[in-house]
């Protein structure tokens, strides 16, 4: 039995060989899994973001992804840009343009985030260019207190804030005419104010702050391109890839 076991002190060579073989084996396994799961993961991510977009812009049935970078509007290719996903890319603003069946622009959706009670609240808000207002939001990720902070998803009075939240630009189109702010429960007077949920004020404030920050950044820069985005066919730069994949019937 004893010759089965490694000798008392293994040579450095055998150590290196063992480690090398194990590392190779593990590398092989990991790469294999990564290859196999890549497609379903991307599909899952796409479904999740589309679900969120169609939730904040209910009339929409299809979407395109664009980015505004260096003062020009370009379609955003998620496949090509995957490599830089973890890089900070402050200059590019990413947003989703949502269209209905006939290719009419129904709204713009974009991501925003702000510090909530426990951690960052990441959400997607829907902007309606016609009424120049925020039409809804959907939470992408948050770790707020269950039963308190997550009321922002279920509280009807709170959600009513987002039937038409004023997000008009000022005359010069440089910034929002009015900052979107969250006010104390029951003291909402203006169309650009969000009535907080009592007992979840900090989370409500985070929603307001995120939308305000996001809108303040995106909307003025988006403004020059709105006419260009108005209909699907007119948009000069149409992404050619995965067209089939993005046209999804909302009826599901």
């Amino acid at each position: 039995m004893s010759q089965d076991h490694s000798p008392q002190r293994a040579s450095s060579l055998s150590m290196i060989i063992t480690l090398g073989v194990v590392a190779m084996l593990s590398g092989l396994l990991v790469v294999l899994t990564w290859q196999l799961t890549l497609a379903p993961i991307q599909e899952n991510q796409r479904i999740m973001i589309e679900k969120a977009i169609f939730q904040v812009i209910p009339e929409a049935t299809q979407r395109r992804t664009y980015q505004i970078k260096n003062n020009s509007l370009t379609p955003y290719d998620s496949h090509k840009s995957n490599a830089g996903k973890n890089r900070k890319n402050n200059s590019a603003l990413l947003f989703y343009a949502a269209y209905d069946d006939r290719g009419q622009l129904k709204g713009i959706a974009a991501e925003a985030a702000a510090q909530g009670y426990a951690d960052m609240v990441r959400l997607l808000y829907g902007y309606d260019p016609q009424c120049q207002c925020i039409r809804g939001f959907s939470v992408i990720k948050m770790t707020e207190t269950p039963g308190l902070g997550d009321k922002i998803l279920t509280d009807q009075a709170f959600l009513a804030n987002f039937s038409a939240l004023d997000a008009r630009l000022d005359k010069a189109h440089n910034t929002l005419a009015h900052r979107i702010v969250t006010v104390k429960h029951g003291s909402k007077k203006q169309a650009w104010e969000i009535d907080a949920i009592s007992g979840a004020t900090i989370t409500s404030k985070a929603v307001g702050k995120a939308i305000n920050q996001g809108a303040e950044q995106l909307l003025p820069r988006l403004y020059p391109y709105l006419s260009q985005l108005q209909t699907l066919n007119a948009s000069a730069t149409k992404p050619s890839h995965n067209k089939k994949g993005t046209v999804i019937n909302h009826a599901d």
Binding site: V30, N86, K88, Q115, G116, A118, M120
Partner: protein, 193 residues
């Protein structure tokens, strides 16, 4: 305070999202080595040091992984880096400060399996922190760990003198204590709002 400012990140890791009491990371040493104040202090210090080193290395390794587009090897690389960082701290401590090395003794190698350290490396990657932010995050987390383990050790030293029923001695009463500490730390939540 802007959320990605260095001072907020420090405060966030230190108090609001304290690694031990709010995120449940590094519980093994928190419960295991918090019997006495001075060992708790040494453990906290060593852990913070490893946190700092591994956070820095993790930052550069991640840059490398992203550059070569092999992010799927991240976990394996991080754990290897942490294990070597622990070794490095151990060896340099042995050389430069034998007394501290002796005081820490067996706790040093145990730091490898402290989830706070791997957690720190993973979180800073997930949050896309740059170098300064990562530094603030790791020092904040280290300080938070020291704070939590020292508080616990102080309480447990007093507990020695208290008359605790037999049934609840040991881990049970320590967990209850940790629960109360964690309740207190909940008060810090919302500090950044």
């Amino acid at each position: 305070m802007p959320v990605d400012s260095v001072s907020f990140i420090f405060l966030n890791a230190f108090l609001i999202n304290n690694f031990v009491l709010a995120m449940f990371l590094g519980l093994c040493p928190f419960l295991g080595v918090s019997g006495k104040l001075n060992t708790a202090w040494s453990m906290g210090l060593a852990t913070s040091l490893v946190m700092l080193i591994s956070s820095l290395s993790a930052y550069f390794i991640n840059e490398l992984l992203v550059y070569f587009q092999i992010e799927f090897l991240r976990l394996i690389c991080y754990i290897a880096v942490i294990a070597s960082a622990v070794q490095l701290v151990e060896m340099s401590m042995k050389k430069f400060s034998p007394s501290l090395f002796k005081a820490l003794g067996i706790f040093l190698p145990l730091i490898t399996t402290n989830c706070a350290i791997l957690g720190l490396a993973l979180f800073q990657t997930n949050k896309n922190y740059d170098l300064a932010q990562s530094l603030a995050y790791s020092t904040g987390a280290g300080a938070g760990f020291i704070l939590a383990i020292m508080l616990m050790a102080g309480l447990r030293e007093k507990l020695e003198l208290a008359n605790v029923p037999n049934t609840s001695q040991g881990a049970a009463i320590s967990l209850m204590l940790a629960g109360i500490l964690s309740l207190i730390f909940m008060g810090f939540a919302g500090l950044g709002g």
